[in-house]
Amino acid sequence: MSKSVDQIFVNAKQWLLSWLMPAPAWVVQIVSSLINIFALLAVFLTLFALMSVLERKILGRIQNRYGPNRVGPFGLLQPVADGIKMLIKEDIVPARADKLVHFLAPILIAAAAILALGVIPYGRNMTPFTIDGGILFFFAVGSTTELAVFMAGWGSNNKFSMLGAMRAIAQMISYELPLIITVLPVVMVVGALVPDRIVAAQAEYTLGVVPRWFVFTPWGATAFILFFVSGLVESNRTPFDVPEGESEIVAGHMTEYSGFKYATFFMAEYIGMFAITGLAATLFLGGWHSPLSVLEFIPSYVWFFAKLSALLLVYVWLRGTLPRTRIDQIMNFAWKFILPMSFTCVIAAAVWHYAGRGLRGWLWSFVVIAIVYTALSMLLDTQRKFAPRTYRFAE
């Protein structure tokens, strides 16, 4: 029973494809891909809509207000209203803009974000595209985002846009490095770049209870935190949203966009966020595996989306909690702390491996990380004491 529920989507796709039996293989392949794409788009656009309204409501809760509650029950139809509004708005293109580039930027950014979704395993046998170098694909595609952002900034021919784009690129490049390097230990330990293999490697349970997710190893936990922070930066979310800091540079590279193009940017940002969190869940949180072996009867995709949601919730929570950091702080943090720490994760993973992957390895890699962490924090400590702020004029 639970098996058939688990595989319900897979079976549905097979059933659909079975109608094409006489067609040549390449047709089947294309149709299969199309089905996957549509399924992806359907799920994630819905999720995007849901997310946008939920985020606003949660932020409202955090900030002690209601949030949207007028359109539809509990304001749940708000995204529909927003969508309609965006669609019917006038599409303004600045006169001196580089029109082609200005036009292509939102398309490229959305395409990249959606492509990245394609390699994540959403459930048992539910990876849309299985590529040998899936993780690499994810990052290769993800890296086009930077170009797209730049195109947006350049094409708009506006100083705010340009500044925003530069900031975005600077911080995205800086954090792409730790993002990739924190993935390395997982890849090393599993020995494959295929997400499915990585998920499979986390399938077991220690003593039948504790899942063997990588987040439960010292290096995994560290890498996960680093990955999460870097992902936060990659998706330009608070507290790292300086590229679109409204109070300083209006909306960064999106300043000159309106209407549907703006909506596309917005969507791409959310989808990028889903992709990153999805990857985080895949890499460190055991993908679609259940946290307890007794709960395995619950379908795998439920688990995946539960983890995804949990992580997204943290995103929202952070956005509601933290103020925006300065760009120099972001960069310093990246190069001076995150990067060395992520290298340490690689070493710690190697130590863990060679010490036998058991308790001993756990302890040793913990020691390695602790040493480096202590050393780094001592080195980076500016010895600045924090004191309650005193106000000179606002008393």
Binding site: L136, L147, I169, G191
Partner: protein, 160 residues
């Protein structure tokens, strides 16, 4: 490895390359260059070297293209329009192409179809990198470090 895909990719690639070589706006040329490289990556996919294709995209789009646009940004004052092709260059390029094409057609041994091959997995590449090619790998690592430092030193503010 279908011919249709090949023809499609070849057309896109060469068109983008031509655009990169001739477009007058620097930014457009750079973007075309990126497209051309995506085309090359697609060729790699077609040839069964997915990994290299991904690396190519990763490196060229993610790093080199971004670097180029950044450089364009930093040297903006000079970024007017450049002239497109000049005739001497074009002639020479065509001549080189002619010569190469002639040589390719002339050489009988390259008129062969693709043999059936074992899939080139990342694992195989990794093993090769860590065994037979470990020294080149180290050297490249060193080179990259040196390039990193060199580039930093070069762009540091000149002392006046």
């Amino acid at each position: 490895m279908s011919s249709a895909a090949f023809v499609l990719i070849a057309m896109v690639t060469l068109a983008a390359a031509l655009a990169a070589a001739t477009l007058q706006k620097l930014m457009h040329a750079t973007l075309s260059f990126a497209v051309a490289l995506v085309g090359v990556a697609a060729f790699f996919f077609l040839l069964g070297a997915e990994f290299v294709g991904l690396v190519l995209v990763f490196v060229y789009i993610g790093a080199v293209a971004v670097l180029i646009v950044f450089t364009i940004l930093l040297t903006r004052r000079d970024v007017g329009k450049d002239r497109g092709a000049n005739w001497g260059g074009a002639l020479l390029a065509v001549a080189v192409f002619g010569g190469l094409a002639w040589a390719v057609f002339k050489t009988q041994s390259v008129a062969i179809g693709a043999p059936h091959i074992r899939a080139l997995t990342v694992k195989r590449i990794g093993e090769a990198l860590m065994t037979s090619y470990v020294w080149p790998l180290q050297c490249v690592g060193l080179l990259l470090t040196a390039a990193l430092i060199g580039a930093l030193v070069l762009v540091m503010e000149e002392k006046r």
